[in-house]
Amino acid sequence: MAVTSYQAEQKSNQKKLNLIDTDIHERVMYEDLLAYLDQPYRRYITDCHWLQEKHMPYTQPAVAGVDRADAIVPDGRPAGSDLSFMQEQLLDACGHQAGILTGALDPSPSSMHGWYEMATALATAYNDWQIENWLEKDERLYGSVHIAAQDPQAAVREIERVGSHPKMVQVLLPIDDIMWGDPYYHPIFEAAQRHDLMIGMHHNEPPVYYGKWPRYFIEWHTLIPTAHMNQVTNMVFNGVFEKFEGLKLMMIEGGFTYVPFLMRKMDQQYKDLRHEVPWVKRMPSDTIREHICFTTQPLEEMNKKTFLEVLDQMGTDDIVSFSTDYPHWDYDSPFEALPPNLDANLQRKLFYENALRFYPKLKGLAGGVSHE
């Protein structure tokens, strides 16, 4: 009896891509963080059994909860917790040139509404763990600086501490109850810009429903883009990109098909209401096209015609970047998720060049790479 494997089948049937994957979730176990935590924070976990309480009422969307069932490590550890298995199942199988790690959000320093000291210690430990166990063990992997944004001064110190690491490419901000355009975050933007780091936004426990959870997961998952729309609108009209002219923003895991609507709506409002925000000097859609990139996943199923129409309505195909969201349940395959028979030049942009252009610290990848 012959047994097939997904990886073998994929390798044989698909040509390799030049791919920068802009959303990969590595996962830390609490016990893995201990070696990177100073006292007294370590003992709160070892002696007092501290763990971060999460509030999502539904974690059952698919066969293995929020993960791909086949991404659980063969020895039973959670999906995303083993580098070699991730290499085999994702990086090698798909032919990644680079992948941006975005964390598993548990523990999630930025979503702690109290005990800022613990959140700051967790962020520091997480970054050190990430660098030592992932970034420095696979040349394809790049990382995100995790911060406790509840304490902006501490967050800036953490960016200063690890932001210059050559493989740290962005700072992850939480979606929480302070919008990103608020001056509260400006010291973080300033530090990120100083270190050539993008700002990455990935939903965590987003207040997409008046700050609460909708009744069903299917509602929450449908409405994730609304949280992204809030942040983009807020940042643009609060003049963040006028103040920080070099700042780039990566909107992760909200898709991009809402962008044409948002551009039109913001431009229309700007024509009528510019007087309220005189610090905004350009049409909002122009600012978006210059400063913001959107990852593809979770991509709605579209035929080629519809897909191209969405890009056309954005006025550019330079601000969308492919992401898998591995190892989560709504993973998008780089071989299957996009409509078939896209123009080779467009594929190059979506899979590679757009991310390369946005992330200042990926510039080193530019040499020696050709796309089939």
Partner: protein, 127 residues
């Protein structure tokens, strides 16, 4: 695929029927096709192309389970078809193995299926 290859893969014995218990799945390569053989709770066998029609995920890594029945009563959960529903390991799409592999949410879409018989206590697959 050439004609000889087609002829070679027309009928194959997959396993002894006791090798696959109710509720279990088996991966099998039929010619060049990856196949998932499923055994329902009532003991019957079904076989499908082992690639989800959505994004090609290996269905054999998913789960044979039941499904919540459609209802007109908001908030009512009634679980049915235990062992008859093949759920994709990635996005969790549900396919009814006893109804030609039709997708529950959109029955007009279905998995590619293969004929399966039990002959002399062995599971045999045809294309």
């Amino acid at each position: 695929m050439n004609k000889n290859a087609l002829a070679d893969t027309k009928r194959e014995v997959v396993c002894h029927q006791d090798d696959l218990q109710p509720g279990q799945m088996l991966e099998y390569t039929f010619g060049r096709h990856p196949v998932v053989v499923c055994r329902a709770e009532d003991g019957r066998f079904f076989a499908f192309l082992n690639r989800c029609i959505h994004q090609g995920a290996p269905l054999s890594k998913g789960k044979l389970c039941g499904a919540t029945a459609p209802t007109s009563n908001i908030g009512e959960y009634r679980f049915e078809k235990e062992g008859d529903i093949l759920r994709c390991p990635w996005h969790g799409r549900e396919f009814d193995i006893k109804n030609s592999g039709c997708m529950l949410a959109q029955p007009k879409y279905k998995l590619k299926s293969f004929k399966v018989t039990v002959e002399d206590e062995h599971v045999v697959i045809y294309r």
